[in-house]
């Protein structure tokens, strides 16, 4: 059975991070924020540039 270490992601060719983001806290104006979540977020890398897109909601108790 062939065995090899899967190639780790790198910036060659670009890759996407797709997942969920969860707000876990903050300071100052956002000190009361709770983990209501940022969902549908993505981080993509193309060469040496990383782009950020975060969408969702933040909450304050």
């Amino acid at each position: 059975m062939a065995s090899f270490a899967p190639v780790p992601p790198d910036s060659t060719g670009g890759e996407n991070f797709n997942g969920s983001f969860l707000v876990t806290g903050g300071t100052k104006k956002f000190a009361g924020e709770i983990g209501s979540g940022l969902t549908g977020a993505a981080i993509s890398a193309d060469g040496s540039v990383v782009t950020f897109t975060l969408t969702g909601t933040i909450g304050k108790p």
Partner: protein, 137 residues
């Protein structure tokens, strides 16, 4: 024998009403959760290892950049993703060849606003090839 002090605090119908009032719902005093929509978009640079050359199945990627977001304006963002690229963790998109593969990744990040306020978050998802497959070595 009952003491005068206890006797003066004997329960009456009005006392019972007062007790009930104290355990009643707090109404306007109750904590409320206010949710606001939030979005941010920006770009940055990897600040360290991009996982190239990692051979032990685990690697960590850091990134840093600026974002412009609702409620916060322009802000800085920093984050770390720990990637599990072990043989057992990978997800093959073109099984059984497995030239295209995704890896579980999770980590934390911090958005720092111009007033030095922060929003901290956790992130959990998959890193996958975008337009071309990962180079196979």
């Amino acid at each position: 024998m009952e003491s005068p002090a206890l006797a003066s605090h004997a329960l009456s119908p009005s006392d019972i009403g007062a007790i009930v009032f104290r355990v009643a719902p707090c109404g306007d005093a109750c904590p409320r959760v206010t949710l606001k929509s939030f979005s941010a978009i920006g770009s940055g640079m990897p600040t360290g290892n991009d996982c190239s050359g990692s051979t032990d199945g685990q690697c960590s990627v850091t990134f840093s950049g600026t974002v412009k977001g609702s409620q916060i304006g322009k802000a800085n963002v920093n984050g770390t993703l720990s990637v599990n690229h072990s043989d057992t963790a990978r997800i093959c998109l073109d099984s059984p060849d497995c030239n295209d593969q995704c890896f579980p990744a999770s980590g934390t990040g911090v958005i720092t606003t111009k007033n030095d306020g922060t929003i901290t978050f956790g992130q959990d998802g998959l890193i996958c090839p975008r337009t071309t497959r990962f180079d196979r070595r």
